[in-house]
């Protein structure tokens, strides 16, 4: 059974699923949309590209610096408040980017409380920081996205243990040198994977760039679609975006290096004790990040909710909560099981072909949500018409089978968030020495027993991380939910959309805050578990 060809099946299925909407998007090149392209080139395609590039670079550097430094402090050092920051620094993960963006604009726009105080202090004509600028967008996005790097780097540092650093130190390297020459390279795959996730989120984001009116590739896609009513040109732009992503994925693979880290004993770590001023500085640093990325936006949401009151908390509101959680939970389970199957498939039948095929599945994560959703919708409509209607024999009278069903929405989530689930499962699996399996087999255990008694318990933390990351991501997801949800299946994200699309930020605070709160629970569970 170990060498059965069937292990390839999940990989093929998942790749086919992700490639389905991608193919739809690529098909847009059937006819050139010369006019739209000429217009874009003439009126600022170069600005779009440079903005997008600046965003990538800025977010990439900022999340790496923040994520790695914070992970190093909480995983390897000891300072006042460390145990607390250890889990608290993951909390911004529960914040949807679109929520943080509108909160940031509320706080930092010219009429907001911060700049009003600023003008009182420095006079009305004084220079002031403009949040609706490249650095502003980069900072807001990094505040939401750094936890990806933080979490992955943190567990990498934890798993390295102190032995490596110790060895480097006994060989005469200073603390910095051993960090840069030993610890960082070992953690590189994790850091790069985290940064890649953050960058793909940033590339696909529409919520934040729309709030800040910051022109990126995504906004050009939407302009072609909604402004020119030209879905084809929009899809062509999206396929270019895909090219960027594919390039980024190749770079990621290069940057990961070939190092493989198998599980180390986690016992007896003594941490580097930062005492006195250094400890205080570390504490202040972590606190500042936590305040800016989580406490302040969270507090602003609470203030808005207290202003608008809890009128909206009716029975239907609880239904929204229920739908949000249910959709998230089902999708998370489905995605994680698939990820498990794919990861095992890769391990059982390793080949560069299969690895590359699996890598392709990341494309789903980097497409702007609406574009992906439309691709899926077109594919499903086609399947309904070409496959399912003839199958059921009653033609159009069958109405919609796939489209408009909960299955379609869950499939869409699967295509979008598969790579989020695959990452932790795969890295969990990589850390299990292949020899364990061989030993178990030589002791006469069947494949199933090996799976149940060795892999699952060892994989449980990775699976749990995957489950929770996907759960939180699905609950935050907006555009695909809007387009593909079955009737009556409104979620909190849908409610946030309805309020923000009318510019009613304050009324959006209640569903947004609820969304953050129910995302916080799994995030906290995850971090607490990972400490044991």
């Amino acid at each position: 059974m170990i060498h059965s060809r069937w292990w390839q099946l999940p990989i093929w299925m998942m790749a086919a699923l992700v490639l389905m909407p991608v193919l739809v998007i690529l098909l847009s090149w059937q006819s050139a949309q010369v006019e739209v392209w000429q217009h874009l080139v003439a009126t600022g395609l170069s600005r779009l590209l440079s903005n997008t590039l600046a965003l990538m670079l800025g977010v990439g550097i900022t999340v790496t610096l923040l994520g790695v430094s914070l992970a190093w402090l909480t995983a390897v050092c000891d300072f006042p408040g460390r145990r607390w920051f250890d889990w608290a620094l993951v909390l911004p993960l529960a914040m949807p980017t679109y929520v943080v963006a509108f909160v940031a604009l509320g706080l930092m726009s010219y009429s907001g409380p911060v700049l009003t105080a600023w003008r009182d202090l420095f006079g009305p004509r004084a220079w002031y920081p403009e949040i609706r600028s490249t650095p502003g967008v980069i900072l807001v996005m990094s505040a939401v996205l750094y936890p990806y790097v933080y979490m992955l780097a943190r567990s990498a540092f934890l798993q390295q243990g102190r032995t490596l650093t110790e060895a480097a130190r006994t060989l005469g390297r200073g603390p910095w040198a051993s960090f840069i020459q030993v610890v960082l390279p070992m953690a590189r795959p994790a850091i790069v994977a985290g940064t890649a996730l953050a960058l793909m989120e940033a590339l696909a984001d529409f919520g934040a760039v729309a709030v800040f009116n910051f022109d990126t590739f995504t906004t050009a896609i939407y302009k072609s679609w909604f402004g020119f009513f030209n879905l084809q040109a929009a899809a062509q732009l999206a396929s270019l975006l895909l090219m960027f992503v594919a390039l980024a994925l190749v770079l990621e693979q290069q940057a990961r290096g070939r190092g493989k880290v198998h599980q180390h004993s986690l016992k007896c770590q003594d941490r580097i004790r930062l005492s006195g001023l250094r400890g205080l500085l570390a504490c202040i640093y972590c606190l500042t990040i936590l305040l800016l990325a989580f406490v302040v936006p969270f507090g602003q949401l609470i203030i808005w909710v207290s202003k608008t009151g809890l009128k909206a908390l009716d029975e239907r509101f609880f239904q929204l909560v229920q739908h949000t959680f249910l959709l998230g939970m089902i999708s998370a389970v489905v995605i994680c099981l698939t990820a498990l199957a794919v990861a095992f498939g890769l391990r059982m039948r390793p080949s560069s072909w299969m690895t590359n095929l699996t890598r392709l599945t990341a494309l789903g994560y980097a497409l702007p949500g609406s574009v992906l959703a439309v691709g899926i919708m077109i594919a499903f409509a086609f399947l309904d018409r070409a496959v399912l209607w003839p199958l059921f024999g009653n033609g159009a009278a069958a109405g919609q089978i796939l489209l408009g069903s909960a299955a379609a929405l869950i499939t869409a989530y699967g295509i979008r968030f598969f790579s989020v689930g695959l990452g932790p499962v795969q890295s969990g699996l990589e850390r299990i020495r292949p020899q364990i399996q061989e030993v178990a087999h030589s002791l006469g255990h069947s494949q199933w027993q090996v799976m149940r008694r060795i892999y699952l318990p060892l994989l449980a933390p990775g699976l749990m991380t995957a489950l929770i990351l996907v759960l939180v991501d699905v609950m935050k997801e907006m555009p695909a939910t809007l387009l593909l949800r079955p009737f009556g299946w409104d979620t909190l994200a849908v409610r946030v959309y309805e309020m923000t699309s009318e510019g009613e930020w304050q009324r959006a605070a209640l569903p947004a805050l609820t969304l953050v709160l129910i995302s916080l629970v799994p995030v906290i569970i995850m971090v607490r578990r990972s400490r044991q």
């Binding site: 217009h39 009126t43 604009l105 726009s109 010219y110 009429s111 009003t116 009305p124 403009e130 729309a210 709030v211 800040f212 009116n213 906004t219 939407y222 302009k223 909604f226 402004g227 020119f228 009513f229 879905l231 959680f325 249910l326 939970m329 089902i330 998370a332 389970v333 959703a373 439309v374 919708m377 077109i378 409509a381 309904d384 018409r385 159009a396 069958a398 109405g399 919609q400 489209l403 909960a406 699952l456 318990p457 449980a460 749990m464 555009p479 809007l482 387009l483 949800r485 079955p486 009737f487 009556g488 409104d490 849908v494 409610r495 309805e498 309020m499 699309s501 510019g503 009613e504 930020w505």
Partner: protein, 341 residues
């Protein structure tokens, strides 16, 4: 085993999900269930739908999303679409849906009587349900109404560094510029838009409310907004130091867009959908439809809310709102060329 708890929870939720789904989704909706795709958000349509259901027994289910995605969905569903009615918040998108053959002409004396000719499509494929005026809002502390005259005059030298605008990506601005192209031509309109951009105090904002707040805070002195955003602000803070000015009263009038609806080409219940549309255009429903969002009813027999009436009457641009759809792409390109982001 560690995994048992989440697995159990997942199983439970899956069962609950599947059963609740079958409860809610009868395989073939009964004749008395209408399906609506709406860009107008839930809290503005649900009260009216509820009332209609109470009066007629016809139940209504709906999906809300942006017009772009909804129209794309409608197009791809083709004849299998469950949608009977499409509601949008601007004329351009309705025009586009009609252009793509997604709506049907309906012959209704009631709608003809209740909806003015310039607020519906020439071939009766869609009808306005509320009118939305896009006009000048100025700071009562720093601007005298005598200084104001027309949309065009916002490009005058005296407003240098004093104007705030919402982004050109919003369809409301695209419609405004489209109707200007319709009346003034491309060249003149482009010059006007350029002069606006030259007067901007700051980069365009992403929504009308923030732009008005910028005027209050003193970043700029005037802006262009849909009146209901001002209405909302005024309802909250009656003494807000802003006021409405009606431009172009000596020529074409104030730009007016609509929130409107059309019956879909492949509607399964076209008669019922038409009845709903007709009911929404009646005097009584019109007041509620408009009042919910401080908009103007399209039905001349119906009055706007007291708050809106207090802004006084104005001469509206009578150009058919179809122009907004026809010239939208042109308007977007023009604003791009003019550097209006």
């Amino acid at each position: 085993m560690k995994l048992s708890l989440p697995a159990l929870a997942a199983l439970c939720s899956l069962t609950a999900f599947l059963t609740s789904c079958s409860d809610k989704q009868p395989s073939a909706p009964a004749a008395s269930t209408l399906t609506v795709y709406s860009e107008r958000v839930e809290h503005l349509i649900k009260p009216l739908f509820d009332e209609y259901t109470a009066q007629t027994g016809v139940s209504i289910r709906y999906i809300t999303d942006g017009a772009g995605p909804l129209i794309t969905r409608l197009a791809n569903e083709g004849e299998a679409t469950p949608a009977d009615l499409l509601i949008t918040v601007d004329a351009g998108n309705l025009w586009q849906a009609a252009e793509m053959g997604l709506l049907r002409s309906i012959d209704s004396p009631i709608l003809e009587e209740n909806v003015p000719a310039h607020l519906q499509s020439g071939d009766n494929q869609w009808f306005g349900l509320s009118a939305r005026a896009r006009t000048i809002v100025y700071s009562t502390e720093r601007v005298k109404p005598e200084e104001l005259s027309t949309y065009e005059a916002l490009g005058d030298e005296k407003w240098k560094g004093r104007l705030c605008l919402r982004t050109s990506k919003k369809v409301y601005n695209q419609s405004l510029v489209a109707t200007m192209i319709n009346t003034l031509g491309v060249e003149a309109t482009e010059a006007i838009v350029k002069s606006w951009v030259a007067n901007l105090a700051t980069e365009p904002y992403s929504n009308d409310t923030v732009a008005m707040e910028a005027v209050i805070a003193g970043q700029c002195d005037l802006t262009l907004v849909n009146t209901y955003y001002f209405g909302r602000m005024q309802a909250e803070k009656p003494d807000v130091p802003l006021a409405i000015f009606w431009p172009n009263q000596d020529d074409r009038g104030v730009h007016v867009n609509i929130s409107g609806a059309g019956v879909t080409k492949h509607a399964k219940h076209p008669q019922e959908a038409q009845k709903l549309l007709e009911w929404l255009s009646t005097e009584e429903a019109q007041y509620k439809f408009a009042e919910a969002n401080q908009e103007y009813p399209v039905n001349p027999k119906s009055k706007p809310s007291p708050l809106v009436q207090a802004w006084g009457t104005f001469k509206a641009d009578l150009v058919n709102v179809e122009a907004a759809g026809r010239l939208q792409a042109e308007a977007v390109k023009l604003m791009d060329r003019a550097g209006y982001r």
